[in-house]
């Protein structure tokens, strides 16, 4: 490229409208990149809803589209949590479904024939483009200059960082898909309101806060962060009427908006999580009152007044809070909240939370995996905020501290840290680039200094002590240092893009409903056992046949097989889940009455032994045992599932409790028959199974998928001749009755 054209290019960026055009083009490209990098799974597999929770959201969206908003609002779902049912309309965050529903109806009005599934699949990528834009706006509020480089970099980072992609690939139709956009945008509006002291921006902030509350349980993050920011500002002596107007507008309107969501209801005035916001609201009134008093009365009297007033108010408020909490008006901190402070709390007290992998504390490599170079630029960016500490920079500092802590406690909260990391890193990089990417040498402050400037930099090391007395020379003069730094930064950024693409492609783009494997010739082979079995259930069982499975598969069964389930991923009723855990981990004699009482028709288990699929039920089995033990410590004991040497085994050495458990029997029933005698092998656990497989008396095999990943059993009806199932099954197998009666265990099986 000639110098001439370079100049032309450089001068093209001068005009104001040209800059705006360039920014719009760049932002559109960033949005395009953000969307495109999330489409791996659609291209590799198909337009399919991923994993577990998205299947519920998808089902709810279909219900909304089919039945309208009011029916959706009043939706009582009797096809989950049989026989309890679930007040679905009142126990979900409707923002996601309503958003897709609105888009669907808008497109239908334009007579564009689009399937609701495709809207759901592509909602998260579309919103990631918006998130990039919101990050641009937020970062631009942090810089004072007209340069948008920090904003554009932040948009780019936000668009492709794996920490956010992990929850927003195409098909990942979860609340986070739109919530991160709302989070960033609410923060932007908050900063805007705070900077301008504008009620309009405050009201807009409250509006988007309301949308956020309607979309994700993580709204509590905003509810706590904004008061914290206000509190820090007050403590720093930065109270201003701008803060008062912004905060009060946001709190009053935002709380009212959030209370419109049935699932939230009166929580904002009842639970401890929301108390900081309320407290700061009250505190701000006091501060405002005091600042008024201060302007009205003389200084000496004001001091006394201040101390008395502050102490009195604090004591009254604290006493009020304690009384209200002990009286039960304000709910104490929830279990999930405690688990944020003590990471081992959940493991001991709420195994159901601990059993979810995304609730585990974050391993340190995860930070680098999800954020790559941003994680080391992040502190630099926060440091730069201190350089120029305005109100909005305090927000970044507070957010950074708060977000880092929570990201360290729980893997999934990495998501809330990501925006601030992107903003801070963009500030850092843009300050580096803004310094080094200026082709013109800075004008020397004094003429005689300019000549020895280059010498000075060489001699700096040796003459450091002497130089410090003189005025430091600010600016980079050498093209070499400029070139080196800019090249290094460019390489880092390119590596970042490579890393992001690699992580997205390899770690975050698997639908987990469909598994991929390679054929010997290198072509892709799809293992589609989940849908095979779900489709079989959907087509060839009664419409109201109840399916019992571990809660992980509840949403999928509801979404794909369209059959009632006992428990699902909503996990609102721990006892019900423990009941299923008990049925799975007990002997058949115990399980059968439980299944009869819950009108179970089919039992579904996931078995990976044939294929080496490690996410199967035997590997999750200990959690079932633990959760059941939490409710029935006398009947289910985790210890009994370990060998005396403390091993968890499934082969011939397995414990009696293990071998007799329903889960073990269902997993390995008839599995031996697939192998030559004595060769049966479990490829997940890598063990050889005993020669004689388990027998099932109260269940019969109904369907097993092609690769045995899903096994479905039918619960037998009561015996026609009034025998118990053990003897009936023994008779069927041709044993004599005498032998059958010798079996141990409770003999009376009849339920009714």
């Amino acid at each position: 490229m000639t110098a001439n054209s370079l100049e032309a290019l450089a001068s093209a960026g001068k005009g104001r409208s040209t800059r705006t055009l360039l920014r719009v083009v760049i932002l559109c490209l960033i949005a395009g990149a953000a969307i495109a990098s999330r489409l791996f799974s659609v291209i590799r597999f198909e337009s399919i809803i991923h994993e577990f929770d998205p299947w519920f959201n998808f089902r709810a969206t279909k219900y909304l589209v089919a039945n309208g908003f009011y029916k959706f609002w009043d939706w009582f779902d009797d096809r989950t949590w049989h026989p309890l049912g679930r007040v679905t309309g009142g126990t979900l965050y409707p923002g996601l479904m309503v958003t897709s529903g609105v888009i669907y109806h808008a497109l239908r009005t334009l007579t564009i024939p689009v399937d609701i599934r495709n809207i759901c699949v592509l909602l998260a990528p579309a919103f990631s483009g918006l998130t990039a834009f919101a990050a641009y706006l937020l970062t631009n509020e942090m810089t004072t200059t007209d340069s948008a480089s920090a904003g554009l970099l932040a948009a780019l980072f936000m668009g492709i960082t794996p920490g956010y992609i992990s929850r927003s690939v195409a098909g990942s139709y979860d609340n986070e898909a739109i919530a991160i956009f709302l989070l960033v945008f609410t923060f932007y509006l908050w900063i805007k309101a705070l900077k301008q002291g504008s009620m309009l921006w405050g009201a807009l902030c409250a509006l988007f806060y309301g949308y956020m509350v309607a979309s994700w349980g993580g709204y509590a993050f905003i509810t706590c962060l904004l008061p914290l920011h206000a509190f820090v500002l007050i403590c720093m002596g930065r109270y201003s009427s701008r803060l008062y107007v912004a905060y009060c507008t946001w709190y009053a309107l935002g709380t009212l908006a959030s209370m419109q969501i049935p699932f939230v209801g009166f929580l904002p005035v009842k639970t401890s999580e929301h108390m900081p916001a309320l407290g700061i609201f009250g505190f701000l009134q006091l501060v405002a009152f005091l600042s008024y008093v201060r302007s009205a009365i003389p200084g000496r009297q004001y001091q006394t007044f201040l101390w008395l007033f502050a102490g009195g108010t604090f004591a009254v408020a604290l006493a009020g809070l304690v009384i209200a909490t002990s009286a039960g008006i304000i709910a104490p901190w929830g279990g999930r909240f405690y688990s944020l402070w003590d990471t081992s709390y959940a493991k001991i007290h709420i195994p159901i939370i601990a059993s979810v992998s995304e609730h585990q504390p974050t391993a340190w490599p995860a930070f680098f995996f999800d954020l790559n170079l941003l994680i080391w630029l992040f502190p630099a960016g926060v440091y730069l905020c201190f350089q120029n500490l305005a109100d909005e920079h305090v927000f970044i500092v507070v957010y950074a501290l708060f977000g880092s802590y929570f990201a360290g406690v729980m893997v999934r909260l990495m998501l809330t840290l990501t925006p601030v990391v992107c903003v801070a890193a963009a500030l850092a990089i843009s300050s580096v680039l803004d310094t080094y990417l200026v082709a013109k040498a800075p004008a020397p402050p004094q003429v005689h200094n300019a000549e020895d400037a280059s010498e000075a930099s060489v001699k700096k090391a040796s003459k450091g002590g002497l130089k410090s007395t003189s005025k430091p020379v600010v600016g980079v003069y050498s093209y070499i240092s400029k070139g080196v730094v800019v090249t290094a930064m460019t390489i880092y950024l390119l590596l970042f893009v490579l890393h992001c693409t690699w992580v997205t492609s390899n770690a975050y783009s698997s639908p987990s409903v469909v598994l991929a494997s390679k054929m010997p010739d290198g072509s892709q082979h799809i293992i589609d056992d989940y849908r095979e079995a779900y489709q079989w259930l959907r087509q060839n069982t009664r419409e109201d046949a109840k399916i019992m499975s571990w809660w992980d598969y509840g949403y999928q069964i509801g979404g794909m097989a369209d059959r009632p389930t006992l428990v699902d991923n909503n996990t609102w009723n721990n006892t019900h889940i423990a009941t299923v855990g008990k049925a799975m981990s007990s002997r058949e004699e115990v399980s059968y009455p439980i299944m009869r009482q819950h009108e179970v028709d089919y039992v579904l288990v996931v078995f990976g032994g044939l294929l080496g699929y490690s996410g199967d039920d035997i590997n999750k089995f200990l959690w079932m045992v633990r959760i059941a033990e939490g409710i029935w410590p006398d009947e289910i004991k985790e210890r009994e599932f370990f060998t005396p040497r403390g091993e968890y085994r499934v082969d011939g050495e397995a414990t009696e409790a293990m071998k007799n458990s329903l889960m073990y029997k269902m997993s390995y029933y008839n599995y031996n028959a697939l192998f030559p005698p004595g060769q049966a092998q479990d490829r997940v656990r890598g063990v050889r199974l005993p020669d004689v497989g388990p027998t099932l008396d109260t269940l019969e095999e109904a369907y097993t998928s092609e690769n045995w990943i899903i096994r479905i059993y039918k619960v037998k009806d009561l015996d026609n001749l009034g025998r118990d199932h053990t003897s009936a099954a023994a008779f069927e197998r041709g044993h004599k009755k005498k032998k059958a009666t010798k079996k141990r265990g409770p003999r009376v099986l009849r339920v009714e």
């Binding site: 198909e46 399919i48 024939p113 095979e532 489709q535 998928s705």
Partner: protein, 491 residues
């Protein structure tokens, strides 16, 4: 059994005789409405010779009646009646009647006359193109199909057992006329026919039926009165799936701008054969896959599409199904799909397939603005055991602005129940496009190659309406954004 048959024959003769006097005037150009409920066909014909061929080779019944009819009335007659039970009429499809001796006469008009909905006997009226003179003879070839014709016996079998079906019919071909001589042949797909009703023989044949390989022959019988029936039942081995498509929706979308014809077919498929006596056993199924014995489960469906078909897809209600293959070259375009699971008796599997094709394979522009589209009415699977369709809905979606829509099809007219032009809105349509919806019932895969010809006009203005509207709306949007953007709003 024999006595009851004779009794019923006598009874039907009586009713015929009594009705004759009252309804002699109703013959001729009478429509359904003005047939009184006491109608019985006039005894104006005699079946001089009748050969009834029942083919049970596929999973539906194909019956062919070749009959020499003779006018025994004094006047010339042009209406021949064929009786069916009410149950049969609901399952009857694909009726075609032609002259065996004179192929140029074409197909004869045939319709079901519903004179009394509660009556168990319904009549098919065949309109002879030229009235048959008194004493003259004509050879009719009547072909029709019966769906859902079998009952599995035993009703449930083990996974590896072979399936047996039963079929009941009358050894004497049901007729409202006296039949001088007749025989009934039944053909099967396998020679394993363990049970069949045996009748005393006549003439030099001691016992009916005679079995030759996979064919049973009842008859020849001597003269039988009108309405004579002799119920017989056969039970035969059928080691293939009894595939039944209860509902098929076939969409054909024509795009002039895209130069494309898009096909989509939505099947609701059932297996009507013997159910599994014990539930599905994957081990046995996996083991049997090695020596691939004949099984009654449906494992694979093959769709030979028209050459030039591209971009096929195969999905069901929960997404794409990856177990399909598409072989496409200059000679064939074969789509082979595997259901998610083998379909056993009593199981159900709904699915969707679709593909595209270049418009020039099907569409031709006539003079001016008129076009003619020639597509297959039915393009279902081609299986050795056949496929039967209970309800078929073909929807031809024409470009926006198409008018003067006419169609012609070679599907038997009796099978078509309804045809209308509806409005279908899609892809930024403003007035919607004409969609010709044809409903048919009781079809089988023998009609795969039958054509559907649709002619329509698209005026030039209608064809450029959409680009203009889209351009105009986009302009309006931009201009209004520009105007709104230049309004100065200070917060």
């Amino acid at each position: 059994m024999k006595t009851s048959a004779v009794f019923s024959a006598v009874l039907s003769l009586l009713t015929l005789a009594s009705a004759r006097s009252s309804t002699t005037s109703s013959s001729g150009s009478s429509s359904r409405a003005d047939l009184p409920s006491t109608f019985t066909p006039p005894q104006v014909f005699k079946n001089a010779n009748l050969v009834h061929v029942i083919s049970a080779e596929k999973n539906y019944i194909k019956e062919t009646i070749n009959v020499v009819i003779e006018n025994i009335d004094k006047a010339a007659q042009d209406e021949y009646y064929l009786p069916f039970t009410a149950d049969q009429v609901s399952r009857l499809g694909g009726v075609e009647v032609k002259d065996r001796k004179d192929a140029s006469a074409g197909l004869f008009a045939a319709e079901v006359v519903e004179f009394d909905p509660t009556s168990d006997t319904q009549y098919l009226r065949i309109q002879l193109p030229t009235p048959l003179k008194s004493g003259a003879q004509q050879t009719l070839g009547i072909t029709y199909y019966l769906l859902k014709a079998y009952k599995p016996l035993p009703a449930s079998i083990k996974q590896e057992e072979s399936q047996f079906l039963t079929f009941s019919f009358s050894a004497y071909c049901p007729s409202v006329y006296t039949t001088s001589k007749q025989k009934t042949e039944v053909k099967f797909s396998s020679a394993n026919v363990p049970d069949y009703t045996k009748l005393p023989g006549s003439g030099d044949i001691k016992q009916f039926p005679q079995k030759q390989g996979s064919k049973l022959t009842y008859g020849p019988f001597d003269e039988k009165p009108a309405g004579a029936v002799e119920p017989v039942q056969v039970r035969f081995e059928f080691t293939k799936p009894v595939t039944h498509v209860s509902h098929l929706e076939r969409d054909i979308e024509v795009s002039h701008w895209g130069g494309n014809v898009a096909f989509e077919e939505r099947y609701t498929l059932y297996h009507r054969g013997a159910n599994l006596s014990s539930l599905f056993n994957r081990v046995k199924w996996a083991q049997s896959a090695y020596y691939s014995p004949s099984t009654s489960a449906l494992k694979e469906i093959k769709f030979p599409l028209r050459v030039g078909s591209v971009d096929p897809y195969y999905t069901d209600v929960i997404g794409n199904v990856s177990t399909s293959r598409f072989r496409s070259n200059k000679r064939e375009a074969l789509l082979e799909i595997k259901p998610r699971y083998p379909i056993f008796g009593g199981w159900k599997y709904p699915f969707t397939i679709g593909w595209n094709s270049d418009a020039k394979n099907f569409l031709r522009k006539l003079s001016g603005d008129s076009y003619i589209l020639n597509v297959p009415f039915l393009e279902g699977p081609k299986q050795p055991e056949g496929v039967e369709y209970e309800e078929v809905q073909v929807r031809v979606i024409l470009p926006e602005g198409a008018e003067n829509i006419k169609y012609y099809t070679t599907i038997p007219a009796l099978s078509i129940t309804d045809a209308e032009v509806k409005v279908h809105k899609t892809f930024l349509d403003t007035i919607g496009r004409g969609a010709l919806v044809i409903k048919a019932r009781n079809l089988v895969d023998d009609f795969r190659e039958r054509e559907l010809i649709v002619s329509y006009d698209v005026p030039f203005m209608a064809s450029i309406r959409k680009p203009l509207i889209v351009f105009g709306s986009a302009m309006v949007l931009f201009v209004s954004t520009w105007i709104l953007g230049s309004v100065n709003l200070k917060f």
